[in-house]
């Protein structure tokens, strides 16, 4: 009689330890990347790392601006292409799609989330890069921000669609009914009542999508060209900046880590720390926004 209560209690504490492995992992990840990155941060300085515009490890120059610009631009490109599509999908699934159609679209979006990034990268290399190369601009290799943004847009679609759809479904029925009873069309109800009430959830979805975009590595290495340059328009048309090659923060780490040594290796870990902190901030702000919504 008594032993089973002792067993119950000890199992409780044992399971509690297991529940703490995640935070232990987070702590270890933070600790080890920071420990390896610290020499670079103290020797080069966080300021010079973040504002230096030349990355030439052989000459001990470690400026991350080209990679920051690359990551930011490709994320903007992906957001321009992907966000309207993803929110359109969410509205479609939550409000408009007949059952047979959502039975097709929902598994399709799920599968898009499951396709390996290396497969997206390969598809980008053999299909999108040759397509982008057809744009007749001098210096356009096809590899670059445009192809990378298109790949990334598809990769963040499932995240944004799923969370936005969830947010739209949380809008109380009465809002819809009240609006429709006033004689609005369904579309007016969607744009003036439902989307505004789901706004914070949709914003959180977009922020999480951006977080995913900043973290993507392999597919970006395969299509973005990886030149360490600050992307510039290729001619007088400012839009040709998207035909420029670039390198992302994540790609920079992956491409160089296996042969880097000393301060170079440390600088890559420092990049990892910056990325880790940035993405943690992004994700927790998205969670804060969502919590506000459900309260």
């Amino acid at each position: 009689m008594r032993t089973r209560f002792i067993v119950d209690k000890s199992v409780g504490y044992f399971l509690m330890l297991m529940a703490l492995t995640s935070i232990l992992a987070v702590f270890l990840i933070g600790f080890f990347t920071l420990r390896e990155g610290l020499p670079a941060i103290s020797e080069i300085g966080l300021g010079r790392l973040l504002t230096g515009s030349v990355w030439r490890p052989g000459l001990e120059e470690f400026g991350l601006v080209p990679m920051i610009a690359g990551s930011v631009l490709v994320t903007i490109g992906a957001a321009i292409l992907g966000v309207p599509l993803a929110i359109g999908c969410a509205v479609f699934l939550a409000e408009i799609a007949p059952r047979w159609m959502s039975n097709i679209v929902r598994p399709a979006v799920e599968l898009l989330a499951g396709i390996p990034s290396v497969v997206y990268g390969l598809f980008g290399m053999v299909v999108l890069v040759p397509l982008a190369r057809k744009v007749p601009v001098a210096g356009n290799s096809g590899f670059g921000l445009l192809a990378a943004s298109a790949v990334l847009a598809v990769m963040i679609l499932p995240t944004i669609t799923n969370i936005s759809e969830y947010a739209i479904r949380l809008v109380p029925r009465e809002y819809r009914e009240g609006s429709l009873a006033l004689g609005t069309t369904r579309w007016q109800t969607i744009t003036r009542v439902i989307l505004p009430s789901a706004r914070s959830g949709i914003v959180a979805a977009i922020i999480l999508g951006i977080g995913r975009a900043l973290g993507e590595t392999i597919a970006m290495i395969m299509v973005i060209g990886n030149s360490v340059i600050i992307p510039r328009p290729l001619n007088a048309n400012p839009l040709t900046i998207f035909l420029s090659q670039a390198r992302t923060l994540t790609g920079n780490i992956a491409v160089e880590i296996n042969y880097a040594t000393g301060i170079h290796e440390s600088a890559l870990f420092a990049t990892g720390v910056i990325l880790f902190v940035l993405i943690m901030l992004i994700n927790s702000s998205a969670r804060a926004i969502m919590r506000e919504r459900t309260r």
């Binding site: 089973r4 067993v7 119950d8 409780g12 399971l15 509690m16 529940a19 703490l20 995640s22 935070i23 992992a25 987070v26 990840i29 080890f32 990347t33 390896e36 599509l85 359109g88 509205v91 479609f92 408009i96 097709i104 679209v105 598994p107 399709a108 599968l111 898009l112 499951g114 396709i115 390996p116 990034s117 290396v118 497969v119 390969l122 598809f123 053999v126 598809v154 679609l157 006033l182 609005t184 069309t185 579309w187 007016q188 969607i190 977080g211 900043l214 973290g215 590595t217 392999i218 290495i221 395969m222 994540t250 992956a254 870990f269 990892g272 880790f276 993405i279 994700n283 927790s284 969670r287």
Partner: protein, 297 residues
């Protein structure tokens, strides 16, 4: 302009507006399906021709020719799946059980435990958002270098386990939450302890949901490239022990595409990856249907 209440006069234009908008939204929904069909269709159609029995059963020959098959990469992938799932499942299921079945009751009694519980929750949420290249860096710093495991299955498996741990925890939580409270109350009222209740009543009902999480994790490991790019070394030889390096199928696609001209082989390997993911998704859907049927009954 066309605020509700401005009368019937603009009803026509409002309806037209709606028709245009709805077509755009339909287009968005259909486009996502179309994109999927194009990506999957292209990869499978181009890759299918290089998939032969010989391709699957011979090892890659290495070098820049990209010749040979993919047998060793299949083996390395399977080893890593077993290793990561083997590490993450007990920990993740245990953590999930704690967070759903024990946390609330234990936190009610003490403030310290309440803090512990919210720290654990924060850990799961944060870990779920960490990008894979950071897991790779971490694995490289801790397992490959500091612990002297070298580029090995073990180092890669430990880093990969961190990736799927939050997946297992979350799906376990979902699965447990879906079990009706009445099951627990019935068991507790008969005098069973919380652990007896969990073990004999709640867990059996939650098994299909937990299986979903495990299958999902298998998919994540099969798809993962960045972590293994940094921790596995990339050797195309047959792994012989936990400490040998290797390359997974996904990694092989990367090397073929970036370092050789053997795009046909890359396509073939990618096609096998995509087909595995489709099968994995189908299995997940089967499990969740089973789960909802069981809860509905």
């Amino acid at each position: 302009m066309n605020a509700p209440g401005s009368g019937r006069s603009n009803l026509g234009s409002r309806r037209l507006m709606q028709r245009i908008a709805f077509s755009l939204v339909w287009a968005a929904g259909s486009l996502s399906v179309l994109i999927l069909l194009i990506v999957v269709g292209y990869i499978v159609a181009k890759g299918l021709s290089s998939i032969t029995w010989q391709f699957i059963t011979t090892p890659p020959r290495g070098g820049i020719s990209g010749e040979g098959g993919i047998s060793t990469t299949i083996v390395a992938t399977l080893y890593l799946v077993v290793l990561t799932v083997g590490i993450a499942t007990p920990l993740g299921v245990g953590a999930g059980i704690y967070l759903v079945e024990y946390a609330e009751a234990m936190a009610r009694k003490s403030r310290i435990i309440r803090a512990v519980v919210s720290t654990a929750r924060f850990g799961v949420e944060t870990l779920a958002g960490v990008p894979s290249i950071i897991f790779g860096l971490f694995g490289y710093a801790l397992f490959v270098s500091s612990m002297h495991l070298g580029f090995s299955l073990l180092a890669a498996g430990l880093a990969g386990a961190c990736l799927i741990l939050p997946v297992v925890i979350r799906t376990t939580e979902e699965a447990l939450k879906a079990v009706p409270v009445s099951y627990r109350n019935g068991s507790l009222a008969l005098g069973a302890t919380r652990w007896q209740t969990t073990q004999k009543v709640v867990l059996p009902a939650a098994i299909p949901g937990i299986m979903t999480g495990i299958v999902l994790s298998v998919g994540r490991i099969v798809s993962e490239t960045a972590i293994f790019y940094v921790t596995l070394g990339g050797s195309y030889r047959m792994p012989t022990s936990l400490l040998s390096g290797g390359r997974t199928m996904a990694l092989h696609v990367y090397y073929l595409a970036m370092e050789t001209r053997a795009f046909d082989k890359a396509m073939g390997t990618a096609a096998i990856l995509v087909i595995s993911i489709i099968i994995i998704n189908a299995v997940i859907n089967l499990f969740s249907r089973k789960l909802s049927a069981r809860i509905g009954a």
